[in-house]
């Protein structure tokens, strides 16, 4: 049989894969930079744990309840903020993530700063494997459908997508809702595996870690999310013997990775999928064209 140590590692890889897959839908496919994904995970985690603790609901019901709760917040926060573009959206998601963390730190029902204890252990390897497969299956179906095409079109060129009759705000909110749903599912599994929840587990660094998994594996690539989640779960474990150096190496690897292979391990395009249009050189080119046009006095309005 698998030793408990490896079992735990596999379960964490699975949960992180769900997190990375759902974030990839938002960042990699729809091109919306979110750096507050851990907030949705925590909403799902706390909600499902409380459903189990207070109502003693079957595990599947608690999990779905947590996921729906997270999805509800995903839509709620998405409605006003998804009008914002690029960096501004990222900042708003960061703000949201911090607010959720601080609220969880102060509410009585979440156990406040002490944390939520005594959650029954219900997450098993089977549950995690099933959840990963279902997440991958559903997200894959969405991506390969009319909806997925619309999401990718928004990533590629939102103005052109609008002109094709795509209600980009609606689809961005939809993608946020779906992404938050699966993040909530991952949170529920996490809660019933760790048996203890603390807002610290879902801080800004956690969101960044999840972002790194997606980028490392490759934006807009489902297998990439799996690879990224596996590497960023297993490698820090292996580095446990040099615990002090762990995060130091983590930071250095991120910088090096962006220099050597910014599109991620399985990313295709040399310029990072949907963020291609934002690349610095292209930006310079458009600026140059614009200033030239300004001089000739054209109407590129």
């Amino acid at each position: 049989m698998i030793s408990p140590y490896y079992l735990q590692l596999i379960i964490l890889v699975g949960i992180n894969t769900i997190m990375a897959l759902s974030l990839n839908l938002i960042i990699g496919y729809t091109g919306q930079l979110s750096i507050g994904h851990a907030a949705f995970m925590s909403l799902g985690a706390y909600c499902s744990a409380l459903l189990t603790l207070h109502f003693n609901l079957p595990f599947i019901v608690s999990l779905l309840g947590g996921a729906l709760f997270a999805a509800f917040f995903g839509i709620l926060i998405g409605i006003p903020t998804l009008k914002l573009k690029g960096d501004y959206l990222a900042i708003a998601t960061l703000g949201f993530g911090e607010i959720v963390r601080i609220v969880c730190l102060n509410l009585e029902i979440t156990g406040g700063a002490v944390g939520l204890r005594g959650i029954p252990k219900k997450t098993t390897l089977l549950w995690v494997v099933l959840a990963v497969l279902i997440t991958a299956f559903i997200l894959n179906r969405i991506i390969k459908s009319r909806i997925g095409r619309a999401l990718i079109a928004i990533r590629e060129d939102e103005t052109a997508a609008d002109a094709m009759g795509i209600n980009s705000t609606y689809y961005k909110i939809l993608c946020f809702g779906v992404g938050a749903f699966f993040a909530g599912l991952g949170g529920g599994l996490f809660a019933h595996y760790m048996r203890f929840l603390h807002p610290k587990s879902f801080d800004f660094m956690k969101s960044i870690e999840q972002l790194c998994m997606v980028v490392l594996g490759g934006l807009g690539n489902m297998w990439g999310s799996f690879v990224g989640a596996t590497i960023l779960t297993v490698v820090p474990e292996m580095l446990r013997s040099v615990a002090d150096l762990r995060l130091l190496i983590y930071g250095a690897v991120l910088i090096l990775m962006m220099r050597v292979r910014p599109q991620g391990i399985l990313g295709e395009s040399p310029a990072n999928g949907g963020f291609k249009n934002n690349s610095y050189s292209q930006w310079i080119q458009t600026r140059l064209k614009k200033s030239l046009r300004k001089r000739s006095g054209s109407d590129k309005t």
Binding site: R149, I152, M164, D299
Partner: protein, 257 residues
């Protein structure tokens, strides 16, 4: 051909923070005609396009399409009503395949939602098959069916222009707005384009409004030409009439002088 107007703009003005780009434009497009929109750089041609497609909201005035008021509507609301466009600076979905680009055009004519997408119901499959068939038709119409699996960014410039037209046609429009479709094309490609535009009108019964700087093309293809200068409509009429209009000559000579 009936002289029934498909698009009517009355008293339309648009300004960018005090800077007037268009002033009091009255303009009509009749069903199944090919209209050319010309004018010197900065005259407001693309701005007028953006008002018709909902990318901008007119500061003043009314725009009716097919007897429905459309000013103030968003692009995604206007496109299903039957206005499609191409862009001056080609805006394809570069990382997507040629076929997927055209399939996006079918977006507003299909209905599959989240549940249908995940369960892949018979209805979804049927709709997807129909959309694909339609998209392939559009691709062969612009002679790109062999490139369907190519990435859009790998196409040549002329092919990208044609793909943009196919994508616009896939929205099943009644009115097609072409923004400088011949820009950057060689003479041979321009001749092919003229043929294509005529085919779109004759075979698909689609009304066409095009912005163009290539005078030979505009005058050769348009049945009616409208001229913008400094945000005002200074002339309108047959290519012949417009070419002989003194104000137009002045506007153009004034630019080149």
């Amino acid at each position: 051909m009936s002289r029934h107007s498909i698009l009517t703009a009355t008293g339309v003005s648009h300004s960018f923070g005090g800077l007037v780009a268009l002033e009091d434009i009255d303009f009509k497009i009749y069903q199944q005609e090919i209209v050319g929109l010309i004018g010197p750089n900065g005259a407001g041609k693309t701005t007028l396009f953006n008002l018709f497609t909902g990318h901008y909201k007119p500061t003043e005035g009314e725009i009716y399409f097919n007897n429905q008021r459309i000013n103030g509507l968003k692009p995604y609301q206007i496109t299903p009503k039957g206005i499609a466009r191409t862009f001056q600076n080609i805006r394809l979905f570069k990382q997507m395949s040629v076929l997927d680009n055209v399939l996006i055009g079918q977006h507003c004519r299909t209905r599959t939602g989240l549940v249908g997408a995940v369960l892949r119901t018979p209805r979804t499959k049927k709709e997807e098959a129909r959309a694909r068939e339609h998209a392939m038709e559009m691709l062969s119409f612009v002679n790109l069916e062999e490139k369907k699996d190519e990435k859009a960014s790998n196409l040549s410039y002329g092919e990208q222009r044609r793909l943009e037209i196919a994508r616009a046609l896939a929205t099943d429009p009644l009115l097609l707005l072409l923004d400088e479709p011949a820009a950057g094309m060689n003479p041979h490609e321009t001749i092919e384009l003229i043929k294509l535009v005529r085919q779109i009108r004759d075979q698909m019964k689609i009304t066409i409004l095009l912005i163009e700087h290539d005078m030979k093309m505009v005058m050769g293809i348009s049945e009616r030409v409208a001229v913008l200068n400094y945000g005002k409509m200074i002339a309108e009429g047959t290519p012949q009439e417009v070419q002989n209009n003194e104000e137009v000559i002045r506007a153009y000579l004034g630019e080149t002088a």
